[in-house]
């Protein structure tokens, strides 16, 4: 068995996985959760409507 030397306090500063960092950040989730439907549903949908030719 090999032992790795650990500096004091290293255990406490355990690296947090990126996905957990995302899930632990409610404001980032808020941004994503509002941006996704705004872009794909609202903005894209409105663009489709405004490009409908006006009837002569």
């Amino acid at each position: 068995m090999t032992e790795t030397s650990k500096k004091p306090g290293e255990d406490q500063e355990e690296r947090i996985p990126a996905m957990q960092s995302l899930l632990d950040n409610p404001f980032l989730l808020l941004f994503i959760g509002v941006a996704m439907p705004t872009v794909f549903y609202i903005v894209w949908g409105i663009m489709e409507i405004v490009t409908i030719p006006v009837a002569p």
């Binding site: 808020l30 439907p37 549903y41 609202i42 949908g45």
Partner: protein, 576 residues
């Protein structure tokens, strides 16, 4: 100043301001449910053609108020209470900006009353959707706007309370899964309210003459960003309540927190895009927009629901097996506390949401087979499965839990309470199943008269459609009786229930705090990080074989039903 109370029965901590706001919002929700239920009775007794109770103008007025009181006011008032529980109570911290909490409540209350007044004045029978160019009275729209602003304030108080909890280190590690579910609900709520503001403010200005024209298609697309997303808040909130009750009743722990949180992330990313299925038959919108938003994005949200539908009963099964209920596939389920309305209501919610609401939702979200049932009574059947037997029953379940814990009153009529979930759930399930059948035969939603009496172009529905509508309405009446029993028990308990705390008087049932001696200025202990799972605890579905079999039954049911709908489409829409 003493601010925190500890529930002697559960150990839950209540911040005084949060406690009052939870009570006030829950009571307002119950009043909205009462109004919605009474109006629902009038609606089913009119759609039951043999009874045909109301004349046309009163029917459309009752239907408008029923839709808004049930789908908006009952649900969102209760969700405000859920947000305060999930933040302040579960994270053991003070509520951020309690004064703004009362602004939230008052704005929502004034908005709800104003919109109802507009409807019952008779000039705003525009249905919940209020499609332009139908025009309601200005205070109809203004009431909805005020209500939405109030709800938005509630969402930001929730996010503020998360910040308070983090800053004051009231919990260790990540927020609990139930709170994470509430975060999901609050995020969807922000998008919902923003969509509502984008469309309802100009519509209000149009109703008072400042804007000349609202484009009907633009209105439909943006309005459904609010109209359908408001129901997606419910999904996130009631799934959080499923997890909460599994933990409270069984001591169950999620089979995999990672998987459950990942499923919530799928909700955050994709659930709101399902609004698009309302636009599936609208001209002018491209197939690409429709297909992406429904047939791709929506299925990822459906996947998330299937994950929750597997992990919640799975976690209950694991907890029950840990207590020794190991015989066969389903002893854990047979020995569940079926006489406890907290559990029975929650489990009926879970099953009906999956089997009825979920499967029919996928059918409605598929562009081709949507054509069979678009704008038929199948649509209200679907959302009665999701919002009534799904969300409402989950909210009923947690209300039964909160009566002694939050209101400090003993529940009255416990024998009737054991039966209530079955009466309500059974009646509403009959309503849903038979309306689904009638919708498949083409019975239109919303229409006052199935006979089309006096119409220039008449149409005869098959006799079976009348039978199905009649049986469905009978189920609806049973459901209303079940809802009435729920309100009798819950409101009756707040007024007449035995006091579990001497200062829990009538005013305290409606939002006033308990006696000062109930509260302490000592801060609650920090919520510890969840203990590691015991050795040998696996996260595979085979740890919960009964749930795995139930999931397979759901899958087979879905596949068969999906195939039947495609087959039916081929027979009614013959292209060759």
């Amino acid at each position: 100043m003493a601010q925190f109370r500890t529930c002697p029965d559960t150990g839950l901590y209540f911040h005084k301001s949060a406690e009052s706001l939870i009570k006030a919002n829950a009571v307002a929700a119950a009043v909205a449910l009462l109004v919605a239920g009474l109006l629902g009775l009038l609606v089913v007794l009119t759609r039951w053609q043999a009874v045909h109770l109301l004349p046309a103008d009163q029917f459309y007025m009752a239907l408008t108020a029923h839709g808004i009181d049930a789908l908006i006011f009952w649900i969102i008032f209760f969700e405000m209470a859920v947000l305060y529980v999930a933040s302040s109570v579960l994270l053991r911290c003070r509520l951020a900006t309690p004064a703004w909490g009362w602004v939230q409540f008052l704005l929502m209350l004034v908005g709800a009353v104003m919109t109802n007044v507009a409807i019952f004045q008779g000039s705003s029978s525009v249905m919940m959707t209020s499609y332009v160019p139908m025009q309601a009275a200005p205070h109809f729209y203004l009431g909805l706007i005020l209500f939405a602003v109030g709800a938005l304030i509630g969402c930001f108080i929730f996010f503020g309370t998360l910040v308070v909890a983090k800053q004051e280190k009231s919990y260790e590690g990540s927020i609990p899964l139930v709170t994470f579910g509430a975060v999901t609900a609050a995020i969807i709520a922000v998008f919902t309210i923003a969509s509502g503001a984008i469309i309802l403010i100009p519509t209000f200005l149009w109703s008072i003459g400042y804007i000349a024209h609202i484009d009907a298609e633009m209105y439909r697309v943006v309005w459904w960003g609010m109209g359908h997303s408001s129901q997606q808040i419910n999904v996130a909130a009631h799934v959080a309540i499923w997890y909460l009750i599994a933990g409270l009743v069984f001591g169950a722990r999620p089979m995999s927190e990672k998987v459950s949180r990942g499923a919530y992330l799928l909700y955050i990313l994709f659930l709101q895009l399902a609004c698009a299925h309302h636009i599936l038959v609208d001209p002018g919108i491209s197939a690409e927009w429709k297909v992406f938003n429904t047939s791709y994005a929506m299925y990822l949200a459906v996947l998330a629901s299937m994950i929750h539908g597997l992990t919640v009963p799975g976690s209950i099964e694991v907890a029950q097996r840990g207590k020794g209920f190991n015989n066969g596939l389903f002893e854990w389920l047979r020995k569940a506390p079926w006489e406890n309305p907290v559990f029975s209501s929650m489990f009926i919610s879970l099953v009906t949401f999956g089997f009825l609401g979920g499967i029919t939702g996928v059918v409605m979200g598929t562009e081709q087979i949507n054509l069979i049932i678009h704008n038929t009574i199948y649509v209200p059947a679907h959302f009665h499965a999701t919002v009534v037997t799904g969300t409402t029953m989950a909210f009923m379940a947690v209300t039964y839990f909160l009566i002694p814990v939050l209101f400090r009153r003993q529940m009255i009529l416990p024998g009737l309470a054991k039966l209530q979930p079955y009466i309500f759930g059974g009646g509403m399930t009959i309503l849903v199943l038979f309306m689904l059948g009638a919708g498949t035969l083409g019975v239109s939603r919303r229409h006052w008269d199935m006979d089309f009496t006096g119409a220039a172009l008449g149409f005869d529905y098959p006799g079976m459609a009348y039978t199905l509508m009649g049986i469905g309405a009978f189920g609806g009446v049973i459901g209303v009786i079940g809802g009435g029993i729920f309100l009798l028990i819950t409101v009756g308990s707040l007024v007449f229930g035995k006091k579990l705390e001497p200062s829990a008087g009538l005013l305290q049932s409606f939002g006033f705090p308990l006696a000062a001696s109930c509260y302490t200025d000592k801060r609650p202990e920090t919520l510890p990080r969840a203990a590691p799972l015991p050795a040998g605890h696996h996260t595979s579905s085979f740890e919960a074989p009964g749930t795995f079999v139930l999931a397979l039954v759901l899958l087979v049911t879905f596949v068969v039903y999906y195939f039947i709908n495609w087959k039916y489409l081929a027979s009614v829409w013959q292209l060759s």
